[in-house]
């Protein structure tokens, strides 16, 4: 099973020090991403989804556990090998304006990855830059000599995507790529990502807090809560028949446009998200869960397969 994963996370833990306090933003998370698929990673703020994305590109690497890319463990690679590996993995961030250096021109921003990876020929660089700009539906003639502040947020995100594409990676981490964009622009970027994925045979990890967006773009979805993985499975299954009470509550709390003929599942999750510094014992969701029992307090649930391909970490999963 493991071999066919392009990217395989095994028991990944990411720890940080913040103002003298040590805490784990991600604890013991394992999942794999198949070649060519899009895995959606959802959760609320502080659940560790961004930390996972960053630990995959080794910025910073996980403190415990393994991350295998094409079977090679990333943390064992030498600096030079890691540098070569970076061509295969790129990342797109949430804030497109902040992820472009305001003092550099688009041409320099886009050629930077090529120069770092040792491409010297000017003509070749220019060609690649024009190629990727075309790929993200931007006109190279009018864009290469401008600086980021001359573009709108959506256009900046296109430039970021172009920068990620220029090294022809196999895998891209999309860290909330549409969260800071307006809805009409958001749809353009999502469609673009879908297109590029098909054309360039990409594998995506799509991180977002927006459940509808994740459902739309993902083949499979992983749900995180407070640094732990609660549930993972095929996108359709997760949304139709969530097993974890948290997934159920999360989906239910999304307000959707009311049409006459659409059914609405109204659920409201009570309480607040506990602090990562001091997480609850046992199941981390128990403080907000209506199904919680004594067992949840004392034993941490393991991730187990309930339906085919659908894993859940809950002692009392929902039944259908």
């Amino acid at each position: 099973m493991t071999e066919q994963y392009l990217l395989d996370l095994q028991d990944v833990t990411v720890e940080y020090d913040y103002q003298g306090q040590h805490f784990a933003a991600v604890e013991g998370v394992s999942f794999g991403i198949l070649k060519g698929e899009t895995l959606g990673l959802v959760g609320e703020s502080g659940c560790g989804k961004s930390s996972i994305g960053k630990s995959i590109i080794q910025l910073p690497p996980p403190t415990k556990g393994k991350i295998l890319f094409e079977g090679k463990q990333l943390s064992n690679l030498s600096n030079r090998a890691l540098q070569r590996m970076r061509h295969n993995m790129q990342i797109i961030f949430q804030d497109p304006v902040a992820s472009l250096n305001p003092r550099r021109k688009v041409r320099n921003i886009l050629s930077e990855p090529l120069i770092i990876s040792g491409v010297k020929e000017k003509k070749q660089i220019e060609e690649r830059v024009r190629f990727v700009l075309n790929a993200v539906n931007m006109n190279p003639d009018t864009t290469v000599d401008k600086r980021p502040h001359e573009f709108s947020g959506g256009q900046c995100q296109r430039i970021c995507i172009a920068r990620a594409l220029i090294l022809e990676p196999k895998f891209i981490v999309c860290d909330e790529p549409v969260s800071s964009l307006d809805v009409s622009i958001q749809a353009q970027i999502l469609n673009l990502l879908e297109d590029l994925k098909r054309k360039h045979d990409l594998t995506l990890l799509f991180i977002s807090h927006d459940l509808a967006v994740v459902k739309n773009i993902s083949d499979r979805v992983a749900v995180m809560y407070l640094g732990k993985l609660c549930e993972i499975g095929a996108s359709m299954e997760i949304y139709e028949k969530p097993l974890h009470p948290y997934t159920h509550g999360l989906i239910g709390s999304v307000p959707s446009i009311l049409y006459e003929n659409k059914k609405i599942r109204e659920t409201e999750l009570i309480g607040e998200i506990p602090s990562l510094m001091n997480p609850p014992s046992g199941c981390r969701f128990r403080t907000r869960c209506s199904r919680s029992e004594e067992k949840c307090e004392n034993h941490e649930p393991d991730l187990r397969e309930i339906r085919k391909g659908q894993f859940v970490a809950c002692h009392f999963p929902l039944e259908y």
Binding site: K54, Q94, A98, S99, R103, R104, E112, S117, C160, R163
Partner: protein, 287 residues
């Protein structure tokens, strides 16, 4: 209904009472003229600043001596020009050295953080613990007062402020996602410092240099006034002021003319520096 916003509507630097002619162009002309006279002083038809005319002690301004003569009958105008030469030399090299060192310390400590940062912050605290003029006085008096020593000492005193500014802007830029993106592409730390961070902080930093120049010129004047600057008979503005001070009730011009020159020079530098800073700030906010 034009004043809905009663509160501050304009951020940024000092709004000038008068327009840019007074806050930018006149100061710029003043500094340029002074600079030209200071550089070409030897070629200009000036009196010898060292030569005393004992027949004309403490005279007021006249066609012969434009600004009068001092206690020893030396031409004040000529001495002011040669004195400004000292001030401007020190006032140029010390802030530039201080800025280069401060920029380096600030960027490195702001980017790498950790122990290095604590070390740099500690170093700054140590330098700051010695009041600048006191530090300069001691070193100059015991090590000998020369222009080079003066420049070294005053460079040291301008390191803390430069380091703080550079560190603060490095901290804000190092957090930005484009630095992370560069790392994801495999850029080395050195390349990131050079290509991503430095271009962003160098301009705002440069905008401060005129203000630092004015501060250094004031300190140089103070040291000369206390008699620990470049030793007499080399003319210095501060030294001239000190020399005229005992006769202030009878011949105030000996004291006040060099003081006025010093004041106008510092004021001009401040005004131009402020304009420069606000222009850089506008460009920043446009980004």
């Amino acid at each position: 209904m034009t004043n809905i916003t009663k509160f501050a509507q304009r951020l940024g630097n000092i709004p000038p009472l008068v327009n840019a002619i007074f806050t930018l162009w006149i100061p710029a002309v003043w500094i340029s003229c002074l600079l030209a006279m200071v550089i070409f002083a030897d070629l200009l038809p000036l009196y010898d600043p060292f030569e005393s005319d004992f027949t004309a002690l403490k005279v007021r301004g006249s066609p012969e001596f434009w600004l009068g003569t001092d206690v020893l009958g030396r031409d004040i105008f000529s001495r002011i020009i040669y004195g400004s030469r000292t001030s401007l030399t020190v006032g140029f090299f010390a802030p530039v050295c201080g800025m280069l060192i401060g920029l380096f310390l600030g960027i490195v400590s702001g980017y790498y953080r950790g122990r290095l940062e604590s070390l740099v912050v500690g170093l700054i605290d140590i330098i700051l613990a010695f009041p600048n003029i006191v530090l300069a006085m001691c070193i100059l008096f015991f090590a000998g007062a020369s222009i080079v020593n003066l420049i070294i000492v005053l460079s040291i005193t301008s390191i803390p402020a430069n380091t703080r500014i550079a560190r603060a802007s490095t901290l804000t830029y190092a957090k930005r996602d484009f630095v992370l993106a560069a790392r994801a592409q495999g850029a080395s730390h050195l390349r990131i410092l050079w290509r991503e961070i430095l271009p962003n902080i160098i301009l705002p930093q440069m905008a401060y240099i005129l203000s630092f120049m004015s501060i250094i010129i004031m300190i140089e004047g103070s040291l000369a006034f206390l008699g620990v600057g470049v030793p007499p008979p080399t003319p210095t503005l501060g030294g001239m002021i000190a020399q005229g001070f005992p006769d202030i009730n009878t011949d105030p011009h000996i004291t006040f003319l060099p003081a006025l020159f010093l004041f106008l020079t510092v004021l001009s530098l401040n005004l131009i520096g402020d304009q420069l800073r606000s222009r850089v700030a506008v460009r920043e906010s446009a980004i």
